[in-house]
């Protein structure tokens, strides 16, 4: 191959390879040549794993890329974003930095302040606007996936501990008991179903009775209506005045009777009071008798006195018998 042909071939290969490589690189980087972009700056206290080139998202749609990240005064980090042409920011916009995937890729989300998550730390970061340069958006960093996974790790540990305890508690005997419980529950549910069926039948009969009662009530109402009709007709014939007059007389009699009953009740109360006094006195006397006080008490409680009295009566009877038989022995009547 001639030297000229070598030159041409080598030059062509080098050029084509360079063009292909550059084009492929731009394609993979999603570079857009000749596109006019709007620059927006936000500031943060920390930008986490955010890097230049990460995407900017508005309502879930890619709207640009991170162009520059630099340290600013007073502990801030300034993040410059290049947004695609024609992109309109939401009202009262804020910028949230968050993990886009589980593999460490981050993204910046521009959203309305009201749509920001109600996490206390995030809200505090967004409220920290003191000394912000004009046209700089407030920003906050959402918790990293590592923080979330550390919390989730703790939760998972607790769940594992609970699972282990459940496993220990739910051994073979517990399973047997559970099985027996289920069988009992099955039996109980069968009985309950039977009871429900019986109660249902009872309820049916009650319903029949209620229906019959309702019919009776309906008949009663009909009868009442008839009675009212008759009452209405009686009123119209002048019998009602007679009934009222008789009722007045009856009421007068009843009032007189009640007055007499009241007087009798008063007499009874007085008699009761008198009787209560008698009883109290009798009770006192009896108490004294039982205590052996007084003559009767002595007679009741002293056996020797009783025996003396008894012998006295016997002697008296003998004396009377002897007196009847021999009155002269005891009577000596003389005149002068």
């Amino acid at each position: 191959m001639s030297k000229r042909a070598n030159d041409w071939l080598v030059g062509t290969v080098v050029l084509v390879t360079m063009v292909v490589l550059i084009a492929a690189t731009m394609y993979l980087q999603q570079a857009e040549l000749g596109t006019r972009r709007t620059s927006v700056t936000a500031r943060f206290r920390d930008v986490g794993n955010m890097q230049v080139g990460n995407v900017v998202v508005i309502r879930g749609v890619q709207a640009g890329r991170i162009a520059q990240i630099s340290l600013a005064d007073e502990g801030w980090v300034a993040v410059e974003m290049k947004l695609n042409e024609g992109i309109e920011l939401p009202a009262d916009p804020v910028v949230l930095l968050q993990a886009a995937t589980l593999f460490g890729e981050w993204q910046a989300v521009i959203t309305a302040r009201g749509a920001a998550p109600g996490i206390r730390e995030v809200l505090m970061q967004l409220e920290d606007t003191a000394g912000a340069p004009p046209a700089t958006l407030p920003g906050a960093v959402l918790p990293d996936i590592a923080q979330l996974t550390s919390v989730a790790g703790g939760i998972a540990g607790n769940v594992a501990s609970i699972s282990e305890r459940v496993r220990l508690a739910f051994d073979d005997s517990a399973a047997r008991e559970m099985r027996a419980t289920i069988r009992n529950f099955n039996t109980m549910s069968t009985q309950l179903a039977r009871t429900v069926r019986e109660q249902s039948r009872n309820l049916d009969s009650v319903a029949v009775d209620v229906r019959a009662g309702a019919n009776d009530l309906s008949a009663g109402m009909t009868s009442l209506q008839r009675s009212l009709g008759r009452l209405d007709s009686a009123t119209s014939q002048g019998e009602l005045e007679t009934i009222i007059a008789e009722s007045k007389q009856t009421a007068t009699n009843l009032r007189a009777m009640s007055e007499r009953l009241a007087a009798m009740s008063l007499s009874l109360e007085r008699a009761e009071a008198s009787l209560r006094g008698v009883v109290i006195k009798a009770d006192t006397v009896l108490s004294r008798i039982e205590a052996g006080q007084g003559t009767i008490g002595l007679l009741v409680n002293d056996a020797s006195l009783y025996r003396n009295s008894d012998s006295l009566v016997i002697d008296l009877r003998a004396f009377l018998a002897d007196f009847r038989r021999n009155p002269k022995r005891y009577l000596n009547i003389s005149i002068f």
Binding site: V10, V20, L21, N49, G53, F103
Partner: protein, 258 residues
């Protein structure tokens, strides 16, 4: 054993010293454009353009294997679009430069060492010196320049076709869609990946050609010496490629790690 170890170390240091000396001489000879210029395009075609098919073939099959390997490894919660990520990162940053470099070390290194070694044992190099031609400018500079400049071209083509092969395998064999594969490829893509691979390729090209030239110029004896020079050139080039691979990783990747 110690004597053998010492001899190996002495030979290794001698090779490094000869290559270093040759490098300095080659830089000095760069000024002699009229001597090396006419030979550059022929060497660039031979070392670079003619090597593109082998580089593309290696990278193509590597891309297919990587896609299948990624799909085999990424199970469960790992999303399948990461196949594109693995293919992109691995092809561009490691496999395309290193595998292509190793393949070219065999093809180019052996070719250069054998060619220059044959010229040395047949005293053609001495004849050049007799004719007032600088053998370094005439033989070494065009080869080293062509290797340094054309290796990145070969590796760039290998990167491109490796990605195409990985994408095709993902579509045809794994059932991934093009957006899925591109999402994975773009997920962690950085233009640094391409620069890193191309700079490594240039350093590999320089190392392979300078070591092969040094081995060829140090050839002694007849055909056996030429064969030994070719073997030494391939072995030393392969070792140097791996050493440089680790060197660039330490220099650039450690510095970029966060």
């Amino acid at each position: 054993m110690i004597e053998s170890l010492g001899n190996s170390l002495r030979r290794g240091l001698g090779t490094v010293g000869a290559a270093s000396r040759l490098t300095v001489e080659a830089f000095k000879a760069l000024r002699d454009v009229s001597t090396w210029g006419p030979n550059f395009s022929a060497q660039a075609r031979q070392l670079g353009v003619d090597s593109i098919p082998i580089g593309v073939l290696i990278a193509g099959f590597t891309g297919i294997v990587l896609a299948l390997l990624a799909s085999y490894s990424f199970t469960g919660a790992v999303p399948r679009y990461l196949v594109g990520t693995l293919v992109q990162k691995t092809i561009m940053m490691e496999l395309a430069p290193v595998l292509t470099g190793l393949a070219l070390a065999g093809r180019v290194g052996a070719n250069i060492a054998a060619e220059i070694g044959t010229m040395r044992v047949t005293e053609q190099v001495d004849a050049l010196e007799t004719l007032a031609f600088d053998p370094v400018a005439y033989l070494v500079v065009p080869r080293v320049l062509a290797g340094t400049l054309m290796f990145p071209v070969v590796v760039g083509a290998a990167m491109f076709f490796g990605m195409i092969a990985g994408w095709g395998a993902s579509l045809l064999l794994l059932g991934l869609s093009t957006p899925e594969f591109l999402k994975g490829a773009r997920l962690f893509f950085d233009s640094f990946d391409v620069r890193y691979g191309l700079v490594k390729a240039a350093s590999f090209g320089f190392a392979v050609t300078i070591l092969a030239c040094a081995a060829g110029l140090r050839t002694r004896g007849g055909a056996q010496g030429v064969g030994g020079a070719a073997t030494r050139a391939v072995v030393q080039s392969a070792v140097m490629i791996l050493v440089l691979d680790a060197f660039w990783a330490m220099v650039w990747l450690l510095g970029r790690a966060r």
